[in-house]
Each structure stands twice: as structure tokens, then as C-alpha cells.
């Protein structure tokens, strides 16, 4: 009969033989076969020699040393409780929030006073008389607001697409500096969050879903180190490419700009 193979012995040594020949039958063979038993002893002697390879000792304080090295690279720092709020009031964000507010007011005014945007009135009711039916007037206002939101989202998606394309096309040297892209991503994350929350509030799930996917990628870029090794950068690039986020953002952005994405109100009124 056959001796045990080297592979069987290795599996037996690590306790992984049960799935193949079976531990019991291997043991039985080892009891009866001096050659295989000697082979197993030899195998174990080799592995004992591997065990003897020393690992440089790092003292008890090693963890603290590691912390001291990585701490400056961490993005978040120990901050007082009001620090995150302070970040909301940087001039650029105030200007952006003001812009969004103006858009919302414009949407409200337009919805209230522009008769051309009203849908066809039901039978027996004269078109252009929104006050006659408050329910229709409310629908109109929401439609206009959502159209304006979609225009702003389209613009945001376009800028995000450009930022992602610039990032993935970064020339790959031994190290890659993505400090500009990171800064850009941080700004986009802030806007993205605002649009996503607005889309959720208005019930626009399609927009919210794309913005949610985009936000994850933007957050990852925003939290990446400014200077990355080539390997790390390749991983980020591969992840972006695998998720197809650039394609998704481009296609959805085009649809939004062309007006082929129905607003939730449109969908409810016409669908």
C-alpha cells in the first residue's frame, strides 16, 4: 500500500487532515509505518527550526511610539466640542449656504407668481387661477423648488465628476500628492451632504441614492493622507473605478441637466 504523501503529513501536522484522508486513518498508518513516522518527525524538526527564528523585540512602550508616529497623520484631532461647529462658519460655506437660501426663496417666489409653470387645470376649472385650488398651488411650488434643486445637483455632480477624473488621472510616481484633490473633496462633501439631505426631505430617492454613493467616495478621498504611496493610491483608484462612480455621476448628471429625471412631485402628478 502507499505511504502517506508529504501533503497529507503537512495537513495532519496542522490538524487539517480531517477533510481529506482523515486523521484517524493517518494515525493508524503512522503507528504501523516507521518510514512515514520518521518523515513526520523530520517535518516537525524543520518547523521547529522555523519557530526558532527570532523576532526583534519591541518593548512595552512600542505602541506609544507608533501612536506618536501616526498621530500627526490622523485627520481628526482632539478638538473642543465647539470646533466642528466653527468649521461650518468658514466664509466659503456661508456664501454657499446663502446661495442655497436665495435659490430656495427664488423657487418659492417663482412657484407662487409664475402662472406659466402651472399644470393643466382639471375639467371645469380655469387654468391660471392657482388661488382657486390651494392643493394645486402647493404642488406647483414644490415642482419649481425641485427643478431648481435638480439644476443645482446637476452642477454639483459635474464638479464632482471633474474632481474624480482629475484624481484617477493623477500621474503615479513612487508617491502621489493628492492634497488639492483632498481639499476639493472636502468642499464637495459639505455640498453633497446638503443636497442629499434636501433630496431625502423632498422624497427624491434616486437623487439621494446617487449622492449617497458619491459621498462615500468623497469622504474617503477627503480623509486620505495628502501624500500617498503608489500602492495606496492605486487601491483608491481601483475602488473608484470598480464602483463605477464616475460613470454613474456622469450619466445621472447628464440626465439631470437634460431634465429627464422626473422630480418626485412630477412622478406623483403624472404617474
Amino acid at each position: 500500500m502507499n505511504h502517506l504523501t508529504e501533503e497529507q503529513l503537512v495537513l495532519y501536522h496542522y490538524g487539517d487532515a480531517a477533510e481529506s484522508a482523515g486523521t484517524a486513518s493517518i494515525e493508524e498508518h503512522l503507528h504501523a509505518c516507521a518510514a512515514c513516522e520518521a518523515d513526520l518527525i523530520d517535518l516537525r524538526r524543520t518547523l521547529n527550526a522555523v519557530d526558532a527564528l527570532p523576532v526583534p523585540d519591541r518593548g512595552d512602550g512600542y505602541g506609544s511610539e507608533v501612536w506618536a508616529r501616526i498621530q500627526p497623520s490622523l485627520n481628526r484631532r482632539s478638538e473642543p466640542w465647539w470646533q466642528p461647529l466653527q468649521a461650518l462658519f468658514v466664509p466659503r460655506r456661508i456664501v454657499f449656504a446663502g446661495g442655497v437660501l436665495v435659490l430656495m426663496v427664488a423657487a418659492f417666489v417663482a412657484g407662487r407668481f409664475v402662472p406659466d409653470l402651472q399644470p393643466a387645470a382639471p375639467d371645469g376649472q380655469e387654468a391660471g387661477a392657482p388661488a382657486a385650488n390651494p392643493q394645486f398651488a402647493a404642488v406647483e411650488q414644490r415642482q419649481v423648488r425641485e427643478r431648481i434643486l435638480l439644476i443645482a445637483v446637476g452642477d454639483h455632480l459635474e464638479r464632482s465628476q471633474v474632481a474624480l477624473v482629475e484624481l484617477v488621472n493623477n500621474p503615479a510616481g513612487p508617491h502621489v500628492d493628492i492634497s488639492d484633490e483632498r481639499r476639493n473633496a472636502r468642499e464637495l462633501v459639505f455640498e453633497n451632504r446638503l443636497y442629499r439631505q434636501t433630496a431625502l426631505t423632498t422624497g427624491d430617492q434616486a437623487v439621494a441614492s446617487v449622492l449617497d454613493d458619491l459621498e462615500r467616495v468623497l469622504v474617503e478621498i477627503a480623509n486620505s493622507p495628502a501624500r500617498m504611496s503608489k500602492a495606496d493610491f492605486e487601491k483608491v483608484r481601483t475602488r473608484i473605478e470598480q464602483q463605477g462612480i464616475i460613470f454613474k455621476v456622469r450619466v445621472f448628471g447628464e440626465r439631470v441637466r437634460e431634465g429627464s429625471v422626473p422630480s418626485p412631485v412630477d412622478a406623483r402628478v403624472h404617474g
Partner: protein, 209 residues
């Protein structure tokens, strides 16, 4: 999961940097040991430790406590080391052949059974260590990683397969190939069998499978 780890992970996920610091302090040494065994190089191991904890910090929100923090952080370290090993040029088998010629003279050296520290015994030990290091460098990144995880870390075949993206059969084979290469490389020092001699010893062995 260790109670301290569980608490610190929760705190760190909520943005408590000091909690993350405690995790680094608690697991830094273990990650270094693993990284050193995987790479065989102190500078590389130091880089991997650093990269591992930075990556862990960024991805801590994804940690779901289905495994222990130690298992998770070690897996992050293994992935970092695996990437590094794949980029690193591997030693060729000829380098070991050259060493064989030197080592052949020492093939008959046997350490003293009484455990005394004779100079030739120390030299023998140092030579074996050098040979083990060289033999490890001959392994492919997959073989080396699979071997280290099975032999030193005691990970199951399934866990190793998940980490390396291999099926169980391929994982087994990687470990076997690694051990086989180690045996060939260390044969002149630790024994002579290495799968030979069975034919000559007991041609009529009847206890086979």
C-alpha cells in the same frame, strides 16, 4: 472580543481619538511581530505597522465587531504586507543553491544534546536562522502569507482563504508548497528524510491508506 477593546472601539468609532490611541498601544507589538514574520524586514514591518493603524483609523467605522479587534487589525496588517510582498522582487532559488554549497560542509553538524553553548553550536544555530530567513524569501507572497497565518497565527484554512481570496483547496496547497520549500531548503541542517528513503526503508509497508 476583549472587553477593553470593545469599549475602546465603540469610543473610537464615535470619534474619541484617545480610545484609538489605547488600541494602538495595546496591539502595536502584535502587529509588528506579524508584519516582521510576513516581511522578514524591520523597516518594512515598521512601515506596515504605521500603514495598518492609519488604515484602521480611516476604516474603523466599517468594523462591525463580528470578529475581535485583534483579528481585524491583523487582517488589515496582512493585507498591507501582502501588497508589499507582491511589489517586492523575490529572491531566486539560485541564492539558496549557492548557500547549499557552503552549508553542505555543515550538513553533518549536530547540536549538543546536553544544551551546552559551544561555539560551533552557536554558529550552527545562527546558520540555521540564516537559512530559514533565506528559505522564507524564496516563497511566493501567497505561500509566505498563508504559511505565516497557519503556522504562527494559527488561523484556520477558511480564514486564510478569505484573507487571500483563495478557495480552501488552493489555501491548503499554498501552505503545503511553503512547507515543502522550507524542508528542501533546511534539509542539510535539520534532517535527511524530506520525503526520501521511504521506498528503500520498507518496500512492503502494508499500513498505507
Amino acid at each position: 472580543m476583549d472587553v477593553n477593546d470593545a469599549h475602546d472601539v465603540t469610543q473610537a468609532q464615535a470619534g474619541d481619538e484617545l480610545a484609538f490611541r489605547r488600541l494602538v498601544e495595546r496591539h502595536g507589538r502584535g502587529v509588528f511581530q506579524l508584519a516582521f514574520r510576513l516581511t522578514g524586514s524591520e523597516p518594512d514591518a515598521e512601515d506596515i505597522v504605521q500603514e495598518t493603524f492609519l488604515k484602521a483609523f480611516r476604516e474603523l467605522r466599517r468594523f462591525e465587531a463580528r470578529s475581535s479587534f485583534k483579528t481585524w487589525i491583523h487582517r488589515v496588517a496582512v493585507n498591507c504586507a501582502y501588497d508589499l510582498l507582491r511589489q517586492r522582487p523575490r529572491r531566486k532559488a539560485e541564492s539558496l543553491d549557492a548557500a547549499d554549497e557552503d552549508g553542505a560542509q555543515g550538513g553533518g553538524i549536530e547540536p549538543e544534546a546536553d544544551g551546552t553553548s559551544r561555539p560551533d553550536r552557536l554558529a550552527f544555530g545562527a546558520e540555521v536562522q540564516r537559512r530559514v530567513r533565506t528559505a522564507l524569501e524564496l516563497l511566493t507572497p501567497t505561500e509566505r502569507t498563508a504559511f505565516v497565518l497557519r503556522h504562527f497565527e494559527g488561523r484556520s484554512l477558511v480564514e486564510i482563504g478569505e484573507t487571500l481570496g483563495l478557495r480552501t483547496g488552493a489555501t491548503k496547497h499554498s501552505i503545503f508548497r511553503a512547507v515543502q520549500k522550507m524542508r528542501r531548503a533546511l534539509a542539510p541542517f535539520v534532517g535527511t528524510a524530506v520525503g526520501i528513503g521511504k521506498e528503500g526503508l520498507e518496500p512492503g509497508c502494508s499500513a498505507g491508506l
